[in-house]
């Protein structure tokens, strides 16, 4: 029995070592692992997020040159001032009709981009607002709920809402980079429905 012991120990150790070797073959999560023909993965053209020496600021994604517009793009020509807001309020109308499809899309965009602070129902109780970390989005309806620029939230005009989506105000940042003009108008169609709540 004693003579067997030594052998068993050696055998056991060998098997365990083999198992450990197998285990250690598990991939290091910080590396992409073995790759064959990496150049087929890397784009020949530049990806938009890649550094790029061909441009002065070293980035591939460039903003359009000044004074140029993509085809069909409508500029929002009102300044980010109290006067600009007033002018927008007077001049801007929603170019989209109130249809079921537009409302449905508006609801989706609202829930993704606005609801996180203003609440899915427009009650100002979005998850971010409820955190109480310095962001307090107002409700779109309710008695005495005033906008910080005067007037009741439930009576905000489309021009004013668009101006706010475009430039942001107070704690709210500009959402122009996330929503195209058409998408903004769809959101506003939906916000107008929320304003009608009691």
């Amino acid at each position: 029995m004693l003579a067997m012991n030594k052998k068993n120990i050696v055998y056991g150790a060998f098997i365990m070592l083999a198992v450990v070797a197998m285990l250690s073959a598990c991939r290091d999560k910080r590396s992409t692992g073995l790759e064959y023909a990496r150049n087929m993965y890397d784009p020949i053209a530049f990806n938009q997020d890649q550094p790029n020496k061909n441009f002065a600021n070293g980035q591939t994604a460039q903003t359009p040159p000044p004074s140029t517009d993509p085809i069909g793009f409508v500029r929002f020509e009102f300044a980010n001032t109290a006067e600009g807001l007033k002018a927008a309020e007077a001049a801007v109308v929603n170019p989209l009709p109130l249809t079921k499809e537009n409302l449905l899309e508006g609801k989706h965009f609202y829930e993704v981009f606005c609801g996180v602070c203003h609440g899915a129902k427009g009650d100002g109780k979005g998850p971010i607002t409820l955190l109480e970390k310095g962001i307090n989005a107002p409700a779109f309806y309710g008695e005495g709920k005033e906008s910080s620029r005067g007037g009741l939230m439930s009576e905000l005009t489309v021009g004013r809402i668009y101006h706010t989506v475009f430039y942001g105000y107070n704690a709210m940042g500009s959402h122009a980079s996330q929503l195209t003009p058409t998408e903004r108008w769809k959101v506003i169609l939906y916000v107008q429905q929320l304003q009608k709540q009691k």
């Binding site: 004693l2 030594k6 120990i9 050696v10 056991g12 150790a13 060998f14 098997i15 070592l17 450990v20 070797a21 197998m22 285990l23 250690s24 073959a25 598990c26 991939r27 290091d28 999560k29 910080r30 590396s31 992409t32 692992g33 073995l34 790759e35 064959y36 087929m40 993965y41 890397d42 938009q48 997020d49 600021n57 070293g58 980035q59 829930e111 993704v112 981009f113 609801g115 996180v116 998850p127 955190l131 109480e132 970390k133 310095g134 962001i135 307090n136 989005a137 005495g144 709920k145 910080s148 620029r149 107070n170 704690a171 709210m172 940042g173 500009s174 959402h175 980079s177 996330q178 929503l179």
Partner: protein, 429 residues
Amino acid sequence: MRNISLNFKKSWKSAFILAALTLFISLGLKAQDLVAGKTLYKDNCASCHNLETNSTGPALTPKMNEREESYLIPWIRNNAALIASGNKQAIESSKYSPTQMKAFPRLTDDEIKNIIAYAKVGEPKKIAAVGVAVVDEGASSLSIIGVIAIIILSIVVLVVLGRAVKMLERLILKKQGIEIVEEERVSLALGVSGLFKNKKFVFFSVLCLVVVLGSFGWMGMWETGVHTGYQPVQPIKFSHQLHAGINQVDCQYCHSGAFKSKNSTIPSANVCMNCHKNVQAIQEDGSISVEIQKIYNAIGYDPATQTYDKTKEKPIEWVRVHNLPDFAYFNHSQHVVVGETAIRKEKGLKPTDPVCVACHGPVNTMEEIRQFSPLTMKWCINCHREADISDKRNDAFYVNVIAAHDKIKKGEKITPALLGGLECGKCHY
């Protein structure tokens, strides 16, 4: 020791706040005032003011403690009138920012007093949960080291036990008066060389070697170019678990290209600033969180003056996790919008899950982002073989396809334009 002093510090702080509260209560300010004040504060002030940090308006707690109530009440009710009346403090205050504070003619004196009472005290400081941020970095390598350690330890224990048993047996034999013939001690080197002469042992070792090398080779080939589990270190410790999980920010809020373009887009820093202009995760020593400061550095933002400096912009160089080979075309919007219902059905997603989960996995539980799916051709093809899109007749894409098929049946002319051939991305991607 440090822990004790830390705990003491914390409890001392909360004790101080408690004392301050009771002092206020004893001064005649009922607790009710604070509650009412908080509601009024949230409805009227919180859009522009924070209690302890400057925002659109200045931090309120220091201001409220600094100024007299006799000044604050008329200022809150109608600051423009107070400035016009030539009040020196009011004129000085109006220089904080060009944005003028709104008037609140509807608030009564009592309501304003409630707001002041609340803003003076502020929120009771929550004692930070200790040890929440457990970093799981290097867990896998640690566990491997642990396994090796356990094996070595068990070998040592076995050897020692073997020796002990031998010794005991010898002792027993000695007691029984039986002489033991000392075994000839075989030197270790000789023992090992003897092992190699053992045919069974050699066969067994070769077998082990073949199995190990074979497994290595198989795994290596199988996983070549497959990046499942890839989790590179990112320049900012951005937690999807916190943002998408706990804070419930929709995936598309930041990745807003996912529903309208090929690329899901990495958010530019201005999207971070939509929240982080105000959310600064102030540390115990009063400084802004290091990770949030990195966003400010990237976009040239100075939190003290709340201004941007375009010349200081320095892009955040995120490390790309999901990378399809350049020869494979994948479009996010096709899958997120047109394919959404089919993908949901195929992958059995809950209605509350975003459709992104189907391929990107439970991102809302990932402290650090990692690649969940293999993104191999087989993986794509399997889903494209199985997913049911027959109920997609209402979607424009399929409507177009069906229309095109009908035209072909009738022998009419169809053009690439009918099938979306005018989309820029069909060629220029």
